[in-house]
Symmetry: C2
Subunit: 225 residues, 2 copies
């Protein structure tokens, strides 16, 4: 016997592994899964292409992990927002804001997590992601209806609708390459979007009119057809 894995090696391997994940994450954040080839990931992580397979059985497995990590981070934030003190409605509003604002800050990533097509393996994870959000919202809605704060409704449908609303408003019109437009649109426009979303969602949930100032901003600014 003349060799056995030692701590130093184990540490280096772990380091390389997380460097790979970080690299993959960075590539997805920048250009979506589509432009994240194994060789690119390897290069960015500073290892050879083949080495990727020392750490992950396949590309799908690597990206599945990237996806799960990114997902976890986002879902945690929303979960946190829902765990703050306050009425169900207040907490839902905070959660919606959190979701929306974070998605606006990293639109390509948000788009990748919510909508971009990838591996079948990753697609399965995406379902989890959407579901995780929906379930968080669902629970809060159930609390709200239980206390009478919210009118009776199917909490699963409402929760799913919240996810859909945010996803569509934020990434739908901005998905392909037009993320640039978003960045260029200025924080004021972004704020307007978030307020619009929140208002729409809260009205849908409560059935009560909100007075929030959502008087049309400069609509003409976007492509109007």
């Amino acid at each position: 016997m003349a060799y056995r894995e030692t701590d130093r090696v184990r540490a280096r391997k772990a380091e390389a592994r997380s460097r790979l994940i970080a690299a993959a994450f960075a590539l997805v954040t920048k250009g979506g899964f589509r432009n994240a080839q194994v060789s690119q990931v390897a290069e960015l992580a500073g290892v050879a292409t083949g080495s990727v397979y020392r750490h992950f059985a396949s590309k799908g497995e690597l990206f599945s992990e990237v996806f799960r990590i990114a997902t976890q981070k986002e879902v945690d934030k929303v979960s946190e927002a829902l765990a703050t003190p306050g009425s169900a409605l207040e907490r839902l509003e905070r959660a919606l804001r959190t979701f929306a604002v974070r998605a606006l800050k990293a639109p390509t990533l948000a788009w990748s997590l919510i909508a971009e097509p990838v591996d079948p393996q990753v697609d399965a994870d995406r379902l989890q992601y959407r579901l995780a959000y929906a379930e968080l919202f669902q629970r809060a809605i159930e609390e709200g209806t239980a206390t009478g704060e919210l009118p009776p409704q199917d909490p699963r449908i409402s929760a799913t609708a919240l996810v859909g609303t945010i996803a569509e408003v934020l990434v739908g019109p901005l998905s392909p390459g037009s993320h640039a437009a978003l960045g260029a649109s200025g924080p004021s426009h972004q704020h307007h979007l978030v307020e619009g979303i929140v208002r729409f969602c809260l009205q849908a949930l409560t059935g009560k009119a909100l007075n929030t100032d959502n008087s049309p901003q400069s609509f003409a600014e976007g492509a109007s057809s």
Copy 2:
């Protein structure tokens, strides 16, 4: 000069061309763009693979056309619903129902049109598709706010949110291969989904509570994890 295209030939070509489109459409409807290879399309249309390229410069162009046609059909239906007589709200409700019911009837197609990743060329068309819907809704919402029937709001955001809500509720939880589950869930469940969507959307638009019977149905039936 000894040959010039004549009517008969032109007709045959046109026929083959539309047969190709029909075949591509059928494949997309059944399995999404992912399982619609050029060779499959050719086979289904009863021509050789190479012949496809006598009619379309590339796969992207063929599917782009398929996409546009499918889109047009759907958008026309919604447009029709919005053109019926009645208040803005009534018309919006009809339009939402139309959109939702049609998507439920052909979920794979709906998913392909709304969300499935494909060619960059087709992705561009998808933007058009979503936009077309959003613009239809937007116009109706603008009419509603003009007459005071609807409270002031950013019509573009609301319109986009409507699209997102329907898309997510209908195709989100049902996208990968679970369309089967949808079909198996029975018309009663489908009806429940549509009602839930409509209620959510109308409340969001009007800020007024609706009494529609949306008391939770059998929620336990879906994956509850």
